[in-house]
């Protein structure tokens, strides 16, 4: 039994940082120094749960921890930290998490300065009306330049950094000051315990013991164990089985009041049954209006995933179904391809999301996959008035029945230091963008572009990062569909069409894209014993062509005495290498080729 914490003694915050600036280390140190976790239970990077997150240094799901802190003034405070995903694919999840807290620590590596992700995330925090406390981290390093970075924060982000904290998350310098700043500089949450319940569904995931766990932030009212609740968007009703907080291990509580962050379980079967951003209220005497700003996350990028070894199809189905239980934003349906056999057509929030899911299937379930060209969802309007959603270029209907096609467009917002502005404008122009806004904020420009999503999904973000040396931030939202002159481009390898490489392109861009693709493929396909024509074609008309010349040399010069075993191993290696490829006629295409062929160099 535990009493609700008064609002005045709660602080909810997140940490905003570019990758590797020390977000996880700082979180660990805050948790450790308040005795939330005993030293002997301390693992590095407590909050990054999944292997993939740890390896890539990215956070995919929101994580949270509740810290009890007795401040210098003798008062006891509850500090709730929500760790958020940092990548644009998960921008919507981030914006939800940000709305669940009132303040942010802006962590900047004082040896590096402000970088792209710092910006993308800090603007989200500003959007959510956060109070922001700048933290200059890694001041233990000789290369630390706190004065320069403080100035940069003021110039580039435009917030006051005079009182930035000087911290070393590694050695512990400034951790106490950080905790005091959280108490004294961040606002307490607002809320009314007497009002009808309004709790924001911040995130949800599957736990093998508890089933679906829902992370909530109570805005108004009080949530108690045993309450009958209702999800306002989906209309689903549940009884609350468990209520608790994270420290960071789960600890049960009997109630959660306004301003508090915790979890509930309620025999919800699948993560799919929950919607991030939904409002949870009581079934009876509930709130009449949900919290503003809900939008469902819908997959925008589709691709085919096929097992390299076709006998692993059933294992793959298993893996996909399990992953989908824990990720509502990922969709799948079975697909068959002449060349690749049985697989799945899957939908993702973006390319990173795609890569994460693919990596998890490959690693956690040990299944090698072939990934086909990612595609967005096109609207194909037929002459008979029917509209079909096209998720896969292979399903493109016969053109004689097609009236016109529409493609999804996005509104892209890019912040960039002015020295790179020209390169960014050129990139957007090259990708069929239409400029909508260009304004300056200090030495930074903000450009808003209307862009076709299909020009963005493959490698726009990588290109943007490279032309701006990482100093641009980028965010987008899908704004609707527009008609355009779209065609299906096929790739022929040794005169055979390779379906998995078909893409939809704008007619005006087809030559450039076709050329780029055949050139790429020429590098990606290993030389064979014969020469191989590689062509791009639109409806039978070849628009680009390269020839991969025949292999000239593949022979072991030395004889290595009588070491015949070594030779036999070479043959086995050859065979294993071939297994990682797919045969199209007489040509072996390595699995990476399918996705890499689409990345363009310019």
């Amino acid at each position: 039994m535990r009493l609700m914490t008064p609002l005045s003694h709660i602080r909810n915050f997140s940490i905003v940082a570019h990758i590797d600036h020390g977000k996880s280390t700082l979180a660990d140190r805050l948790i450790q120094s308040t005795g939330t976790v005993q030293d002997r239970d301390m693992k590095e990077q407590l909050l990054d749960a999944m292997d993939i997150e740890r390896e890539r240094g990215i956070t995919i799901k929101a994580n949270t921890v509740r810290i009890d802190y007795t401040a210098d003034n003798g008062e006891k405070y509850v500090l709730n930290l929500i760790d958020t995903p940092g990548h644009v694919d998960f921008a919507y999840e981030v914006s939800r998490s940000m709305r669940a807290v009132e303040g942010s620590l802006l962590v900047v590596d004082s040896t590096q300065g402000v970088e792209a992700q710092t910006l993308a995330n800090v603007y989200q925090a500003i959007d959510a009306d956060h109070e922001i406390v700048p933290v200059l981290n890694k001041i233990d390093l000789p290369a630390s330049e706190p004065d320069r970075v403080r100035e940069q924060i003021e110039d580039v982000i435009g917030i006051d950094a005079k009182d930035a904290l000087l911290v070393s998350a590694k050695t512990g310098i400034g951790i106490h000051e950080t905790l005091e700043a959280i108490v004294h500089r961040l606002p307490a949450p607002k809320g009314d315990a007497a009002a009808p319940l309004k709790a924001m569904l911040v995130d949800s995931w599957y736990d093998s013991y508890l089933g679906v766990v829902v992370l909530v932030r109570i805005m108004d009212g009080v949530l108690r164990k045993g309450d009958q609740i209702k999800m306002m968007q989906t209309g689903a009703r549940y009884g609350v089985d468990r209520l608790g907080v994270f420290r960071p291990a789960m600890q049960p509580v009997d109630e959660l009041g306004p301003g508090e962050i915790g979890f509930l379980t309620a025999s919800i079967k699948q993560v799919r049954d929950t919607r991030v951003g939904d409002t949870i209220t009581h079934e009876k005497k509930g709130a009449d209006k949900p919290l503003p700003g809900f939008k469902p996350s819908i997959p925008v990028v589709f691709c085919g995933l096929f097992p390299v070894d076709s006998s692993e199809f059933e294992d793959m189905r298993d893996a996909i179904e399990k992953l989908a239980l824990n990720d509502a934003s990922f969709t799948f349906e079975m697909e068959t391809s002449a060349a690749l056999g049985f697989g799945f057509r899957c939908g993702f929030l973006g390319l990173l999301h795609l890569e994460v899911i693919r990596d998890r299937i490959e690693r956690e379930y040990d299944i090698d996959l072939i990934t086909t060209a990612p595609s967005v969802v096109y609207h194909v309007h037929m002459k008979d008035g029917e509209m079909r959603e096209l998720h896969n270029p292979a399903d493109m209907p016969d053109l004689t029945y097609v009236d016109h096609m529409e493609e999804p467009r996005i509104k892209a917002t890019i912040l960039v230091p002015d020295e790179y502005l020209g390169d960014v404008l050129k990139l957007c122009q090259d990708r069929r963008g239409i400029q909508q806004e260009l304004t300056y904020a200090g030495s930074r420009a903000m450009v808003v572009y209307d862009l076709p999503l299909n020009e963005v999904v493959f490698d726009f973000y990588d290109r943007l990062k490279s032309v701006t040396k990482g100093y641009a931030s980028f965010d987008y939202q899908v704004v609707g569909y527009r008609e355009d002159n779209l065609v299906k481009m096929q790739i022929l390898v040794n005169d055979e069409p390779v379906d998995a490489l078909s893409t939809m392109v704008h007619r005006d861009r087809a030559e450039t894209r076709g050329r780029a693709m055949v050139e790429k493929l020429k590098d990606l396909i290993p030389r064979h014993m014969f020469k191989i024509p590689i062509q791009a074609a639109i409806g039978g008309k070849v628009i680009a062509r390269e020839t991969l010349s025949a292999m000239r040399k593949d022979v072991t010069a030395k004889c290595y005495g009588g070491d015949a075993t070594r030779k036999r191993k070479l043959l086995d290696k050859q065979k294993a290498g071939k297994k990682k490829m797919r045969q199209f006629g007489k040509v072996d295409i390595p699995q990476e080729a399918f996705i890499n062929a689409l990345k363009m160099d310019s």
Partner: protein
């Protein structure tokens, strides 16, 4: 019917003796060779003799066609040890009348006296690692001899032995096709009846391998240039009367290295010394054998009773694959019937037809022979022929 019981007889029987020490380790070399401060020649000799006895007990009565002292640098062996080893071998096996007994030699400071002692011990053939015919390239290869020293050593060797071959490494850093043609023409004016010409191979775990991975081994010819050199090599050798009878080996007809032919014809060979490989048929079964690779480990294991570290029976399919990979390297090619007997199934006819249609192999007299067009692609050709 145990079809493979006497299969080895198609290749003959030879003995390989490995000496694992060199004066300096060359940066490209991944042979089992080491630099040792002090070598107890007596102790090593006793170990070799014990191993000869062990192997002879198992394979009695065979006519021994060839012996090969390889390395490392076996020319650093005490000639007395070589003599003792050859004496013991002659006591244990009947030797063919014209047995070929080769010793690998480095062209360092070779004294004529030493070579005479090797000849007196019974060595009949020398294979000398000259590697390059200009001093700058020798230094880049990490060799510790000069061209002049190499030529002097070669002259001493040819004055002492009837059969002397030498090795060159080509497709070296910054070597052009024209450079190689000139060097090879020069080499062939020196060559007697046999020459080995190896394209430089960058091996993992060598100094060159490390530098290559870091992108610091510059100026290596690309595959196209290397292929041109490979083709030119056969042409130039032919013009001098040397036939390419194996991927990297060229000889006047009749002067082929018979020891290596045993490997390529997939005969039986016993391996003695650290890291030596063998293929031996015992009681009708064929085994792959290996000895301890580490010299000290081998030495003490041999003293305790056996230097062998691995003995593995080979399945028919494995033998067939090995036979194919070895025999397709040589001019006489692979006997299709012998392959099928080992494999227990015929050779892939579709692959064979496809390869021969593309001109990579020809079929004659029941044998598959890789053509001049196929040889530079031998690994791919073999791979296709043996694909499941």
């Amino acid at each position: 019917m145990p079809v493979s019981a006497e299969d080895w007889q198609d290749g003959g029987f030879g003995l390989y003796i490995h000496w694992p020490f060199c004066e300096a380790k060359c940066p490209y070399c991944d042979f089992n060779s080491h630099v040792a401060r002090r070598i107890d020649q007596d102790r090593w000799r006793r170990a070799y003799l014990a191993e000869i006895d062990r192997v002879a007990d198992e394979l009695p009565g065979r006519v021994l066609n060839t012996i090969f002292f390889g390395g490392g640098t076996p020319s650093l062996m005490d000639p007395d040890s070589v003599a003792a080893i050859l004496t013991r071998i002659a006591q244990r096996w009947p030797m063919a009348n014209d047995a070929e007994i080769t010793l690998e030699a480095n062209p360092g400071s070779v004294e004529a006296g030493r070579f005479r002692a090797f000849r007196a011990a019974g060595i009949t053939r020398i294979s000398m690692g000259i590697q390059a015919l200009n001093d700058a390239d020798l230094r880049r290869l990490g060799r510790i001899h000069s061209v002049d020293e190499a030529m002097a050593a070669f002259d001493i060797a040819r004055g002492t032995f009837d059969r002397v071959s030498f090795d060159l490494i080509y497709a070296r850093q910054d070597q052009t096709l024209a450079d190689w043609k000139a060097e090879l023409n020069q080499a062939l004016t020196k060559a007697i009846d046999h020459i080995s010409l190896y394209q430089l191979t960058i091996e993992d775990g060598t100094a060159f391998g490390d530098r290559y991975r870091l992108g610091k081994l510059r100026g290596l010819p690309d595959d196209d240039a290397a292929a041109d050199m490979f083709d030119a090599t056969a042409e130039i050798c032919a013009a001098h009367g040397f036939e390419r009878y194996e991927v990297s080996n060229h000889a006047r007809p009749g002067s082929e290295a018979r020891h290596n032919l045993i490997y390529w014809r997939y005969g039986d060979y016993a391996g003695i010394g650290p890291g030596a490989h063998g293929r031996i048929t015992v009681s009708g079964r064929r085994y792959a054998t290996e000895t301890h690779r580490n010299p000290a480990a081998w030495l003490s294991a041999a003293e305790r009773g056996t230097g062998e570290s691995l003995r593995e029976p080979l399945a028919g399919m494995e033998q067939a694959a090995e036979y194919a990979m070895m025999s397709l390297r040589i001019g006489e090619g692979m006997d299709i019937g012998r392959y099928a007997r080992l494999a227990g199934q015929p050779l892939n006819a579709v692959a064979l037809a496809d390869l021969s249609e593309q001109g990579f192999v020809t079929e004659r007299g029941g044998r598959v022979v890789v053509t001049g067009r196929g040889l530079p692609l031998l690994n791919a050709v073999t791979g296709q022929l043996l694909a499941d």
